[in-house]
């Protein structure tokens, strides 16, 4: 790890400590404080340390304020973590901050707004969001609407100016219904439009003559300047017996680049004793490739209008399984505290890719929460 990245990690750790200190100062008010770190490792030789901290305080009886910080300290075998490993290793850090306010206008109507920023040597982003949720008088139905927009500058490390800018805006509408005293079903629909530079300046696509071993041309990745994405999710949460909670969801996603996929998630939480919570999570994601994605472009003498090197636009199957253990700790500052540990394995098969068609990843996380 380079000195600059050790510095970034030190800044991240210091920020977590400062937020925890603020949490202790805020201990006189009701709220929630959380801090922890995740470690991500995969077979592409990507390593990410992700510390985070957040603090929520009650400004008054109806209003809460939340501040958060997170970071990614990345060590990778390639400058482009989404394409393929190369001999050019790199390390860098991304820092993210967020502020959020939530207000209860009435017992049945809640509103909120947030702003966040993400800063790294090659990508900087600013995001603003809003949300509102309305619950009917019988407390059976809840309708929600949220949305937001972001503005991102994408470039390469060391460039004087960004290679391009991206603007995104999206809306999500949701409906949740209480089916019984132990079951909730919810449906969400989302859409997002992105406009601008959607390529990666690090990615180059090789163009071959048919059957050739060596590429005739390497051109910068070329993608459409707009992308409209949509998704729908149905989820059921049930508590079939005391101390057992189950949830399952199905998500359909698609976009105007031709990507289309299905995601199924299943989860169970059991409380053998009140202080201990054990959880298991299973996930499947299957995806069709974008219409213009090819693992190998044998198009000469024609140069393709669109050419992608991003493996995430390939046909994909991802399977993941995780475990989570949460243990309540003795109360401090008159609040409930808990520690959790989490581990997850993620297997991804990327079809029609020449390099690294499989990825095996492991994630471990450890965190502390305090709530009053």
């Amino acid at each position: 790890m380079a000195a600059t990245d050790r510095t970034s990690l030190a800044i991240a750790t210091l920020s977590v400590v400062v937020l925890l200190g603020a949490a202790s100062d805020a201990a006189r008010a009701d709220g929630r404080a959380a801090a922890g770190a995740y470690l991500y490792l995969d077979s592409d030789h990507l390593e990410v340390v992700h510390p985070y901290a957040s603090l929520r305080v009650e400004a008054d009886d109806d209003t809460t304020l939340t501040g958060s910080y997170d970071a990614d300290v990345i060590t990778a075998a390639t400058i482009d973590v989404r394409t393929s490993a190369s001999p050019r290793a790199f390390t860098e850090a991304r820092h993210g901050i967020g502020l959020d306010v939530a207000h209860e206008l009435s017992p049945t109507l809640r509103i909120g707004a947030g702003a966040s920023g993400s800063f790294s040597p090659d990508t900087n982003s600013a995001t603003a969001s809003f949300r509102l949720a309305w619950e009917d008088d019988t407390r059976i139905h809840t309708l929600s609407l949220s949305g937001g927009g972001s503005f991102t500058g994408v470039g390469r490390v060391g460039d004087q100016a960004p290679a391009g800018l991206v603007g995104s805006g999206g809306l999500t509408a949701g409906w949740a219904a209480v089916l019984s005293n132990a079951a909730v079903l919810d449906v969400a629909l989302a859409g997002e439009l992105s406009l601008g530079y959607l390529e990666s300046p690090y990615r180059f696509v090789s163009i071959y003559t048919r059957g050739a071993a060596e590429p005739w041309l390497a051109m910068p990745e070329s993608l459409p300047d707009s992308r409209l994405r949509g998704a729908a999710r149905v989820r059921l949460r049930v508590a079939p017996m005391d101390g057992l909670f189950l949830r399952g969801s199905y998500r359909f996603h698609t976009d105007d680049w031709g990507v289309l996929g299905h995601t199924v998630e299943l989860g169970a939480v059991v409380n053998p004793v009140s202080a201990l919570s054990l959880g298991i999570e299973l996930r499947y994601l299957g995806q069709r490739a974008s219409s213009f994605y090819q693992g190998r472009y044998e198009t000469l003498p024609l140069i393709p209008t669109w050419a992608a090197r991003d493996r995430e636009l390939a046909a994909t199957t991802t399977l993941s399984a995780g475990l989570r253990v949460e243990l309540a700790l003795p109360d401090i500052f008159d609040g409930e505290s808990a520690v959790y540990a989490r581990g997850e394995f993620i297997y991804t098969r990327l079809y029609d890719t020449w390099l690294l068609p499989e990825r095996l990843a492991g994630v471990v996380g450890l965190g502390l929460t305090w709530t009053r």
């Binding site: 992700h50 985070y52 990508t123 995001t127 972001s150 690090y202 949830r247 939480v269 991804t348």
Partner: protein, 70 residues
């Protein structure tokens, strides 16, 4: 179209099957494991990871963007 019809049937069936639940009978519904985001810190990390490594839009994370994943 089949998916749309299935969703419509599900929505209509669900809406007609909903029942009011008294405040004293909401113990299971109020449990953190039944919350929209049962473990908010884990959920935030999962959304961050998916945003950087997957092409899908997630209704739970829509309206955001700027994952800084390039």
């Amino acid at each position: 179209m089949t998916l749309t019809r299935l969703l419509l049937v599900l929505l209509v069936g669900t809406a007609s099957g909903c029942v009011p639940v008294a405040a004293w009978d909401r113990g299971s519904l109020a449990h953190p494991a039944m919350a929209d985001s049962a473990q908010p810190d884990s959920t935030a990390f999962d959304a961050h990871l998916a945003g950087a490594r997957e092409a899908a839009l997630d209704p739970a994370g829509a309206g955001g963007g700027g994952c800084g994943c390039n």
